[in-house]
């Protein structure tokens, strides 16, 4: 570990797992961005990826499998001074948690969602995840007879204001995208291609390294049509980068009467106000 503030601890991940690159890069990014550990909240569901918050020196909430997002957005709702980052798996984000994925994008709460997409259920030992490759691609192991889930396309269709893809093996790119996502005002999804050395023998480090390429320098990330079309490009060539980013009012900004900058947890309803209100029932 190069990093001091957000140093990471011993993990339960397999040697060679892509999660190491993610946690180390994230720790570096948080350090670069000069966060204080206590103002950061890292949230996870359950799975290998979801364990990340256990290994970083910050506030941590490990909730239920598939349910990281609701807990994360609610923590942000009541304390907008926290920087809230979700790290969790593809199964967690798009499988069990699919409904929260759809609807929290719509809410546009100002949180960041790093989906560690190893295209497999890692912790439960290698079942097909929503993003597993299609079975038509010749392969052994877990694969999708169903149409593979396209995280960016779905996120855009649901109205995401920030949607990006990166690859854990490209640490520089990942750091750049992570920073942009954390800085983004509103819900930001980063689907992180992450090799699972134990169970995904197809989408390996080498595979991603070979197939990924960065979106063009002049790519216009504010154009939804382009973003939709480019997000469907997922085959021999897999673009990485920020596909789409626009500013839309966040959850808090849309409710100025309730969220005035002072975190909700710092405000209280006075007994007098309540007493006055009670009198209306006389």
């Amino acid at each position: 570990m190069t990093n001091k503030t957000f140093h990471t601890t011993e993990t339960a991940w397999c040697p060679g797992c892509g999660n190491y690159d993610i946690v180390n890069t994230l720790a570096g990014v948080l350090d670069d961005m000069r966060f204080k550990p206590s103002e950061l909240l890292l949230v996870g569901g359950i799975g290998q990826a979801a364990k990340l918050n256990q290994y970083v020196n910050a506030n941590g909430f490990s909730g239920l499998h598939g349910r990281a997002l609701p807990a994360a957005v609610a923590a942000k709702m009541v304390n907008e001074s926290l920087t809230v980052i979700v790290n969790t798996g593809d199964g967690d984000s798009y499988g069990e948690g699919g409904n929260h994925f759809l609807h929290n994008i719509r809410r546009n709460v100002d949180i960041t969602h790093f989906a560690h997409d190893n295209q497999i259920y890692g912790l439960t030992k290698g079942q097909t995840s929503p993003t597993s490759d299609s079975c038509s691609v010749d392969r052994t192991g877990a694969c999708n007879l169903s149409k593979p889930f396209q995280p960016l396309l779905i996120a855009l269709a649901a109205g995401a204001t920030f949607a990006a893809r990166t690859f854990s093996g490209n640490r520089e790119h990942m750091a750049k995208v992570m920073k942009a996502a954390i800085r983004h005002k509103g819900y930001a999804l980063v689907d992180i291609l992450q090799p699972c050395v134990s169970f995904n023998k197809v989408n390996t480090f080498g595979y991603y390294k070979e197939h990924t390429y960065e979106l063009e320098g002049d790519y216009d990330a504010t154009d939804l049509e382009t973003a939709l079309l480019r997000s469907m490009e997922y085959g021999p060539k897999i673009p990485i980068g920020i596909f789409y980013q626009v500013e839309k009012p966040t959850y808090h900004q849309q409710r100025p009467a309730i969220y005035d900058g002072t975190p909700m947890i710092d405000k209280q309803l006075s007994q007098d106000t309540l007493q006055t209100f009670l009198n209306k029932f006389a």
Binding site: A12, I46, S62, N79, M264
Partner: protein, 561 residues
């Protein structure tokens, strides 16, 4: 006086009942008003039943003094309950031949007033006259309730109704002042605010939706986070995220939604996140009878979720209880860092009653603060092994210490462990909270003879009907008493054992089919009821139902009202 107003969904029964209740309140009466709705928006049969008196009224009874029938179905369904000297108020067009009829040309008068939709207000006018109330009181209520543009026609309508009849009753002059008219849902919502609620999330579900509506309507006014979730799983997990971040959080739902929250309940249990879960019960299983009432989620609430952890289940008995217990539930959840389940039901949620203004200060002080025990370690340990079992809870971001929460079994620091030793210590630590919590339990309320031969046990919203039945029987010399549980799990057993020792027979009175309270008592105390009075047709046990049930066991017999 007991009035029933019935018609189809969409006929405005709800609005009319609301105006009438308010008028009665302002006229100085005690009011108890219940609702019976079908799960549809138009058509079918709905009714409201309003009982009022110059003495406190706290439950509904069957026998009617006045029946207002908008349609023939109402007449058919309720006429049997109308007293021989009762009054049937309806339009002559219905063609009902009943000597109790007081025909009023409701439709004509309404149309003359400007809209067929003012029928209800015509009725109110007539009632005001019949009951000898002051028309100005009704007019004031109309002014407060209706939008400007509808006001004139309704004022005309109330006058026309007033003029259409002669005064028939001279009632005891009432003098109730400074009281509030609250539905059960309102009482609960206000209690939550008194208890410090900051976050409410829910998915719409009858009969709990009135809570969501209340909080949503007042979110800005009270600076609350109120969120309609995409589903109940989101609702509970949001509440837990908010709770972790330092906000007192509550969710509300009915049985089906609660089923979906069960995994989250377990998360609250292991991560020790304070949360209040309100289950406004309706008859199940599954969709069941969506707009009716039942008390059949009791054992489910006590044992919901895989694994084991301390929780508290409180059943709400009546309107004041809804206020105080909700405030207390939020505070107990916070004090012990446990999930508290609050069971209400459709009957209470939708009923309105006149109650003394709840005492906010008293509600807040009902739970004494815990002397925080930081554990031995120097560094902050979220799950420190303390003597009380309650570990120091801090708000993330409000301290330099880092706050960790985990759904896996965890160490004192809050990180995953698989250690057998730590597991046992953590389970024991959590369980230790039950020792302190035991001192917190409220014993059931007792009504009745000092040394009763017959003991009734009940819980939640049947309480006042049971009490009224007992009082009536006592007046007729029957040695009977009733214990009404509010706190049910852990079960307070002191008074139970005390009265059980005296009684020759014990009956549980429950709004369910399997006598769940009886089962719970057996499980917790090894005491078993003689028999039970059960109702599970979706309609709340009335005072009369209880009297009839007892009569069937040879107790009391025919008791005049």
């Amino acid at each position: 006086m007991n009035i029933c107003i019935g018609g189809a969904a969409g006929d405005g029964i709800e609005t009319m009942a609301g105006i009438l209740e308010k008028t009665l309140q302002r006229s100085g009466y005690y009011v108890y008003s219940m609702r019976d709705f079908m799960s549809r928006i138009r058509g079918g049969h709905n009714f409201a039943q309003i009982r009022f008196d110059s003495e406190p009224v706290k439950a509904h009874i069957d026998a009617l003094d006045i029946l207002i029938a908008y349609d023939n179905r109402t007449y058919d369904e309720h006429q049997k309950r109308l007293k021989p000297d009762g009054l049937l108020l309806c339009d002559p067009q219905l063609g009902v031949s009943d000597s109790r009829t007081l025909p009023i040309k409701l439709k004509t008068l309404a149309k003359e007033s400007g809209s067929a939709r003012t029928i209800g207000v015509v009725c109110i006018g007539a009632l005001v006259k019949l009951l000898g109330l002051d028309l100005r009181t009704a007019e004031t209520v109309l002014r407060e309730t209706l939008p400007e543009k509808l006001l004139d026609m309704n004022l005309t309508a109330v006058q026309k109704g007033f003029d259409s009849v002669e005064q028939k009753q001279t009632l005891a002059s009432p003098n109730v002042k400074g009281q509030l008219l609250l539905t059960g849902a309102e009482a609960m919502s206000l209690g939550a605010l008194a208890g410090g609620l900051r976050f409410y999330s829910a998915y719409p579900m009858s009969p709990s939706t009135s809570l969501l509506n209340f909080f949503a309507a007042h979110a800005e006014e009270f600076g609350l986070t109120v969120e309609q979730a995409e589903d109940e799983i989101a609702a509970i997990n949001m509440a837990l995220g908010a709770s972790y971040a330092g906000a007192k959080a509550m969710v509300g739902t009915s049985g089906g939604g609660f089923s979906l929250m069960v995994e989250g309940l377990g998360l609250a249990g292991i991560a020790e996140l304070p949360v209040v879960i309100v289950d406004v019960q309706r008859p199940g299983p599954a969709t069941g009878l969506p707009t009716r009432t039942e008390q059949s989620d009791l054992l489910f609430a006590c044992f919901a979720s895989q694994g084991e952890f301390p929780r508290m289940v409180i059943t709400v008995r009546d309107h004041p209880d809804a206020f105080y217990q909700t405030a207390r539930a939020l505070q107990l959840a916070q004090k012990y860092q446990i999930p508290v389940l609050l069971l209400s039901d459709q009957y209470l949620a939708d009923s309105a009653a006149i109650v003394a203004p709840p005492d906010i200060g008293k509600a807040v002080q009902s739970v004494s603060p815990l002397k925080q025990d930081e554990g031995g370690a120097e560094a902050y340990l979220r799950y420190a092994f303390t003597d009380s079992g309650v570990s120091p809870m801090r708000v993330p971001g409000k301290t330099d210490a880092l706050v960790r929460s985990d759904s896996d079994e965890h160490t004192e620091e809050g990180t995953i462990t698989e250690s057998a030793e730590v597991r046992v210590q953590m389970v024991d630590k959590r369980a230790r909270k039950l020792e302190l919590l035991a001192g917190e339990l409220l014993e059931p309320a007792y009504t009745g003879a000092e040394d009763p031969d017959v003991l009734l046990v009940g819980f939640g919203t049947t309480t006042n009907a049971v009490a009224e039945a007992v009082i009536r029987l006592n007046k007729h010399g029957v040695s009977i008493g009733a214990l009404a549980f509010g706190d049910v799990y852990p079960l307070p057993t002191k008074e139970l054992r005390n009265y059980w020792g005296k009684a020759k027979a014990v009956y549980s009175v429950e709004q369910n089919a399997t006598a769940q309270l009886n089962k719970l008592i057996r499980m917790e105390t090894n005491l078993s009821c003689t028999d039970s009075i059960l109702k599970y047709d979706g309609r709340q046990l009335s005072v009369d139902d209880i009297l009839h049930g007892l009569a069937a066991f040879g107790i009391g017999g025919e008791v005049p009202a």
